[in-house]
Every structure is written in C-alpha cells, then in structure tokens.
C-alpha cells in the first residue's frame, strides 16, 4: 500500500548544533520524495532559519553530489541526479546534518524596501479586518519580515511575520495580470510580485524595488545578482 507509512523512510533527529554561537538542538524529520529526492522538515522556533541556512551551505560547497536544495518555510527539498546517487548518498547527508556546525551565513542580508500604499485592494482589505487604513498600514510596516521562500515566479518572496490581524484570504477570483512591484497579502503572508503575472493576492501597495532583473546578470558568474532577495533574508518596509 503506497500510502502507508511503510513506504516512507522517516527519521527524527535531535542534535545540538551551534547556531549564532548558541548551542541548540536541531530537530528534523525526513521523507523520501520520488526516486531521487528527500523532503526534510525542521522543527522548533528556528525551523525556517535552519532550512535556509542548510540550503546556503549545500549550495556554497556541495559536498554530496546534490543537484539542488530548495528551502521553503520549515522545509528543505534536496535533489540528487538519479536514484542510485540518492540511495548511495542520502544517509551520509543525514549523518552530516546531525553533525553540522551551522552558522548564520554572513551573506544573508537585511533589506529596506520602500512601499507606496496605493494598492487597489487597500481600502477593502482594511474594511475586511475592521481597521482604519492608517492603522492597517502601520501594522504592515511594523514587523521585520523573513523571506520564507522565493517561488511562484522567479524572485517572488513569500514573507513570513505578517501581523495576525492582517491575515486576509486570497481573492476568490485571481486577477489575470498584476504588474511587477505590486505588494500583496495572501493569507498569513505578504509578498511582492516580481514579474507581470496573474495572481490572487490582495494588492495593498507598490514598490519601485526590482526583485528580478535579468539585466543585472551580464555573465554566468553574476547570475545571482538578478535577484534582490534570497531565502532567509530579512525585509523591512518603509512607507513613501
């Protein structure tokens, strides 16, 4: 029965690893995902940070013939070339993770992003949560957000840390086209459209910050500079 747990490889681990100089337990489960990948789920307060930090570490110096490592919230997807590499390597990776000395990647950045609160849905969003527009804006400006993942389209950040009073469900009918730079709220997340795409988030503002720009990476060595943000970065909005 493929849906029984017998077909998964589950493991729960707890190990003290150093994080920002503080010894703390790293806890994770992992599960096979298809022939050549594993989904690793971290637990605890630092779960999102672990996922982003481990992804950085695997990308910076791939020690395990890894094809790709993708963090999203508290999870990390690790992919190998093929089934046989996966089967030879995965246990070594898990052992390595147990022993790993994690430290915050010095290249993780703090960003300040200017926002003009002029979104089409700003009034209705404030109304929906029973708040004055000014208060709504203040609550959106207050937190320091974390880039929980980049996805949906290249460079689109899912920012976690949104005040629970501002959680608004996605629009029932998505818009066919949303311009790049639109700042929106979708459920418990806020984010910024990185490309003109269809989308269902409630639009509350716009930013001139360019989240994805191919012209910023003229050579393969500078490809990463096409992106303003990276998973694990922090973002603070300022009002224009």
């Amino acid at each position: 029965m493929p849906h029984s747990r017998e077909n998964f490889v589950f493991a729960s681990r707890a190990h003290p690893a150093s994080f920002e100089g503080v010894q703390e337990a790293i806890r994770f489960d992992w599960q096979r995902y298809g022939p050549r990948a594993a989904m690793i789920a971290f637990q605890g307060e630092q779960a999102e940070t672990w996922a982003a930090a481990l992804a950085d570490k695997l990308h910076a110096a791939p020690p395990h013939q890894i094809l790709d490592a993708t963090p999203a919230f508290e999870k990390l997807l690790v992919e190998y070339d093929n089934q046989s590499t996966y089967e030879r390597r995965i246990s070594t990776l898990i052992e390595w993770m147990e022993m790993a000395e994690f430290s915050r990647d010095p290249t993780i950045k703090s960003h300040t992003i200017p926002v003009c609160y002029n979104g089409e849905d700003l009034l209705s969003a404030a109304e929906q949560v029973g708040m004055r527009v000014d208060d709504f804006i203040s609550l959106h400006l207050a937190p320091t957000y974390r880039v929980a993942l980049l996805g949906f389209s290249p460079g689109f950040p899912y920012l976690s840390g949104l005040d629970s009073r501002l959680h608004i469900p996605r629009r029932a009918v998505p818009r066919p086209s949303i311009p790049a730079g639109a700042v929106g709220i979708g459920g418990n997340l806020t984010g910024i459209y990185s490309l003109p795409t269809p989308g269902g988030w409630n639009l509350i503002g716009t930013t001139s910050a360019c989240l994805f720009d191919l012209s910023r990476c003229p050579s393969p060595d500078t490809a990463e500079s096409a992106f303003l943000l990276r998973a694990g970065d922090s973002v603070k909005f300022v009002s224009l």
Partner: protein, 287 residues
Amino acid sequence: MNPVLEIISLGLGVTIQDLGRRGWKRYGIPPGGAMDRHSLQIANRLVGNDAAAPALEWMMHGGKVRLLCDARVAVAGGGSIASKLSAWRSEHLAAGTIIELRPSPFGLWSYLAIEGGIAEPDLFGSASAYARAGMGRILTRGDVLFCDSKVSTELLSDWPGGRLATWDDQRFFGKLPSLSLWPGPQSHWFSAAAWSLLLDCEWTISPRSDRTGFRLAGSRISVADREMVSEPVLTGSIQIPPGGEPIVTMRDGPTVGGYPKIAIVDDQSLDWLAQAAPGVGFRFNSL
C-alpha cells in the same frame, strides 16, 4: 558561428530546449528544459552531439525550417512527421533543403537536432526558453539559428548514411506503457480508495495542459480539506487541488505549491507522459 537553420513556419509553437536548469529552484526558477528528455537526447546523439545540446522543440503539428548549410540532422519524438527524414534517424542533408514537420496524432513534442547544436546564450546554466521570465529568445518566422562550435561533435564521416536509433530507443506514442508512481509527500492524506482510483482509472490529458502542467481527465480524486503550507514541488508530482482534478507538474511548472501531492511520476515514465496526446489513454502503476 555559422548560420545553420532558418525558421520558415512556427507551427503551433517552437522553442529552443536543452536539459534545463539545475540549482536555481530556490530563486523560483523551474528546471525547464525539453518536455521529453529522452527524445531530445536521442536526437542529439544521432547527429553526434552531446546529449544535452540545445535543439528545437516543436509542439504538436510541427512547422518548417530551411537548412542553411550541409549538415547532419535528426528528428525524434512525436506529434509530427518530418519530410526528407525518417524519425529516429539522422541524415546528411544539403544546404537549401526544407524540412517540414507535418501533424501526427501520436505524441506532442518533436525534437530537431543539428550537428554542432544550436548556439544560444546560457541563462542560469541553460539555453532553454522560459518565456514567463523572459529567458531564451522568442523565435519568429525568418529567424536564423547558428551552430554552436562549443558543442563537441563526434566525427561521423564514416557514417555517410546517417545513424538509426536502437529499437529500444525508438518510441511510438500511439500507446503508452503503464507509468510508474512513487508516493508523494502527502500520500497519507488520501484514502485507500483514492489511491486505488488513481491506479485503476484510465487517464487522458486534458486540453488545458501546457509546459507548466498536465491536467488529467478520467476521474476526480477526493482529498480531505486540510490547511497546507506551501512547500517545494518536484517535476512530475501529481497535485490534487480541492476540485479533485489531478495536475501533474511539468518542466516549467511552479517550484513551490500548496496542494497535496498524492504521488510523483518516475523520471523515465515522465518522458512518456509528456508525449501523451489528448485522447491517448494511459494508466499508472505503483512502484
């Protein structure tokens, strides 16, 4: 760089594709690349290219190109039948030859490879077109493609009659083999009945399918309404949205998703699935 091909007719759609991008998912860039990696690789090998060299990918019904130099050319895949060339076989053709890809009801994607490969600048490690993010050039009528001198080619002078793919490597897409599934990360959210339905039903591809995802028609699979946090998605995953219509994430599909994934199609089977023309039924089996 030498001009090698001129696009005369685009058909329903033609793009330059190789084996896609690796290592950029964390920025939201999907792997992309040839929908049917097997056929791309065979077409390349038939002309002596590295299997991963960029080639033309034609969506069903084909199109038309003119050769601008004497060159070895091969077509592999499905959805069209080439003039001047047998499928799964390379030929040495003279400059000026017009190759027309005519519609075939079997398969969806055909690959035209030319010795030397197609020169196209790499973006994020691949020449593959990914129009949504402005990657790769959009081909139009009259465009001239160049040969890539960087692609290593074997000397094939001792093969004047061209090369034929082995019987095992040639594929016919009028009938698909049973496609193998692995359990997906949320497979335990589904009932035994839902899993049986997935395996017992004969599925077809809905016409509302593209390079990002194939929607499956045949039945609806029910899933408990549960809150799910978005997580990374692998190509080949079968997602079940609330409506129950399964969606298989294809090469250009999103890198993250918030629908439960009941299963994932094995890599080899995914190349077959990519060639499932609407109306061609197929079944899944559990690995």
